[in-house]
Each structure stands twice: as C-alpha cells, then as structure tokens.
C-alpha cells in the first residue's frame, strides 16, 4: 500500500530556467518557501537531475539552451515528468516570434503538464507539479522513452 502510493507522494523536482524574464522563476522559488510549504506533499527541490522526478521548466527554449534542457532531461532516471511553467515555457509566449527562439519547452522535451499564466501563481505551479506526480505512476509501467499523451483533465 505504501509502496503503491510512493511515486506520487514523493516528487523531487529540479528547476531549470531556460530563458525566462525571471517572473516565473520568482514564482517557482516562492512556491518553495515555507509559506506554501510544498514539503507537506513530499516535494523537495534537488539540485541534481539524477535525484529528480519532475523537471520544472520556465522560459522559452532557444538554440543555446535547448542542448542543456535536453541534457538535464536525459540524466533523470525513468519514470520522469516535465512541467512547463508560464506562457513562455508552454508555447514561447511573447518571445515566440524572436529569431533565436525555438518555442515552448515541448519543442525539446515531452511536456506532461502545462501551467499557463504570465506569471502563474504559486498555487497553480503547485497544482501542476502534483498533477505531474500523479502521472509518474502511469509512466512507470511504460517503456522508457515512450510518451504519455494525457487526455484526462
């Protein structure tokens, strides 16, 4: 029983700021403060992709940081999930038309949960991370590299 719930009860996150204006990052860091106390859900911010379950991305992806984002994603052990925080990480946002911008985080890594907003509130980010944690359970039974297309709300 404990074993079955373990994956969704202990999501360790790693946060990567692609190219954000810092608005989303501040909100992510605010989420991690004692005020919102994400540790009550078992969420811990780790600095190490090898320990992380959920990759939280903010900002739009460009040619320079796509490589880094991919490297971080690939170093995380399976099962893993990606949460795109903010309009920029979801679709490219206001930077979408820039000549150096590729678009949202999903141009490089498979994104599982999109958290829209510019910038989203900490509660929304928290909800996104918890939703991604629920998906880890389903992802566990899939082959490595297979992408989960979420149809549920």
């Amino acid at each position: 029983m404990l074993f079955r719930k373990a994956l969704k009860k202990s999501p360790w996150i790693i946060h990567y700021d692609c190219n954000s204006c810092n608005g989303c990052d501040i909100e992510i860091l605010a989420t991690l403060t004692p005020v919102y106390d994400v540790e009550r859900f078992g969420i811990i911010n780790v600095g190490n992709p090898k320990h992380a379950d959920i990759l939280v991305v903010s900002g739009s992806v460009n040619h320079r940081n796509a490589r880094v984002l991919k490297a971080i994603y690939e170093q995380m052990p399976h099962p893993k999930a990606v949460v795109a925080v903010g309009a920029c990480a979801c679709s490219g946002g206001i930077f979408k038309e820039c000549y150096n911008t590729l678009g949202g985080a999903d141009t490089v890594v498979p994104v599982d949960v999109y958290v829209p907003g510019c910038a989203p509130r900490p509660e929304a980010i928290m909800e996104g991370i918890l939703k991604a944690a629920q998906l880890l359970e389903e992802k566990k039974n899939m082959k490595k590299g297979e992408i989960l297309y979420v149809t549920k709300s």
């Binding site: 404990l2 074993f3 106390d37 009550r40 190490n48 052990p77």
Partner: protein
C-alpha cells in the same frame, strides 16, 4: 538459535525505527520553521519511490559500494544488539563510511569527489573522539565487550560525562546535520549539488538511504550505552539528545571544514581527553 532470531528481528526493526525517527525529525524541523511538514511516513515514501525508479550508474562498482555501505551498517547494528565487541563495531562502522567514500570516488564527477574528500575530513574529525570514547569505556569497565560493559554497576555517564558531551558533539557530524553537514545533507541545501551522493540515483541511492537509517539506530544505541542501567533514563536521554541535534540543525549554518576540524579536535577531543585521563587515574592508578 536465539542469536538468529535476534539478528532477524534487528534487521527488520532497525530500519523501521530509523525511518520513523527520520520522519519525526522532518516533522519537528517543519514545525520549527512554522510550517505543517510532511507526513511522518514521508521517508518511507521517498525510499519506496527510489526503489521503483530506474537504475542509472556511472560505473558498476558504485552499486557494489552502496551495497557494502548498507551491509556493513547492518552488521554493525546486529553486532551491537548481540552485545559483541565495541571496538570491532567501530571498525565496521568505519568500513561502512569507507565504502561510501569509495563509491563516490568511483566516478569522475567533481561534486561527488569533493563530497568524498569532505567525508574523509569528517572521518578525521570524529574518529579520534569515538576511539577515545571506547578506550575510556574500557578503562572504566575493563572490557571492550558490551556484554561485560553492561555488567558494570554504575551508570556509565557518571564516570564519563565529558566523553558523552564529546560524543554528542561528533554525533552532529555523523548524522550529517548543520553545522557539520559538509559532505551531504538531508535537507534541500544545494551546495555541491548533493555532495557524496551526487552520482547515486534510484535504487542505489535507496540502499544508501536505508544504510543511513541503520547507522542512525546504531548511533542512538551508543547513546543508550551510557545510560544502560536505567531504561527510562536512557530513552529520555536519547530523545533529548536527538531533539538537541534537531535544534542545532535548525539554528546553525554550515561551517567550513577547517573550522570543523579545529573545533572537533580542540573542544570535543579536549573534553574526551580530560575525561580519559580522569578515568585512567581513577580506575587504573588508584
């Protein structure tokens, strides 16, 4: 036959106790920071999660060393419960730490290597105090064997108060709590990424986590040894000791290794030495 049952019970009960203590630790820490905190069973969730993840290793020897870390810790706890030689337990505990250091050194990652170096320095800091503690216990009771130590008529703490202070001091290093959590820390601090455990992931990290729980139980058993005559006093002492560790963990920031070495070698080892000379004169010369 009886030994086998005791061994089995220890192997099963020790990690449960260690895990629950870690959970309570996290809860109390959270309450001190005025937040709600994770459930008490959170360490178990973490552990089971780690075991259900994919294994990623840089070199296969890492798995062996993580496994050895766990096994040596289990052996040390079991030997303590079976009341065997204290000196041997200390050596096996040192072996466990060595296995962890070798595991971290088996990769080329600079974080992991610096973590390993810092762990070596902490070994350098706490090992003399532990040795002094055991030698002092020998002076008082005339034996390294826990069986005979327990036969001693007085509470050990009455003869070894300063040794106990020194031991609680190095307990902070052993438990990897602030201000001495140089090589790695259990909380979300990210200096050196995660130090000595950087390159361990998934189930291999789980083995190390499990090893830590056995280690925690063993260290609390050492505290018990000082009060072994009276079980209630012993339990109270363990609780107070651990609570103080949590308080210190929460009110202090990380120190550098130089300060750690200076402090442990002067203050803690000084305390231990004073007590050592005292019991030597009292029990061996007079």
């Amino acid at each position: 036959m009886k030994e086998i049952w005791i061994t089995l019970a220890t192997v099963i009960v020790a990690p449960l106790v260690g895990g629950v203590i870690t959970g309570i630790d996290r809860k109390i820490t959270a309450r001190m920071q005025n937040r709600f905190g994770p459930p008490i069973l959170q360490p178990f969730y973490d552990l089971f999660k780690l075991f259900s993840k994919e294994t990623i290793v840089v070199s296969n020897t890492q798995i062996l060393y993580a496994f050895l870390f766990l096994v040596f810790n289990i052996v040390a706890v079991v030997m303590f419960v079976l009341k065997m030689d204290l000196l041997l337990i200390l050596f096996i505990l040192a072996f466990a730490t060595t296995a962890l250091i070798l595991g971290a050194m088996a990769t080329n990652s600079p974080y992991s290597r610096i973590g390993a170096h810092r762990e070596l320095i902490s070994v350098l800091a706490y090992e003399p105090v532990l040795i002094a503690m055991i030698v002092a216990i020998y002076f008082v009771t005339g034996s390294f064997n826990i069986e005979n130590i327990l036969k001693h008529s007085r509470l050990l703490i009455l003869d070894l108060p300063f040794i106990f202070i020194a031991f609680s001091y190095v307990l902070t290093i052993k438990l990897r709590k602030s201000p001495f959590d140089l090589s790695t820390s259990h909380h979300g601090h990210q200096e050196l990424v995660k130090g000595i455990t950087t390159e361990f992931a998934g189930p291999v990290l789980g083995l190390i986590e499990l090893g830590h729980w056995y280690e925690l139980v063993l260290l609390l058993l050492f505290v018990w040894l000082f009060f072994a005559k009276n079980i209630f006093v012993a339990i109270a002492a363990i609780l107070i000791c651990y609570f103080l560790e949590i308080v210190i963990d929460n009110i202090s920031a990380r120190l550098t290794w130089k300060i750690m070495l200076r402090l442990t070698w002067s203050v803690a080892f000084g305390f231990a030495l004073v007590n050592l000379i005292w019991v030597y004169i009292k029990y061996r010369l007079l």
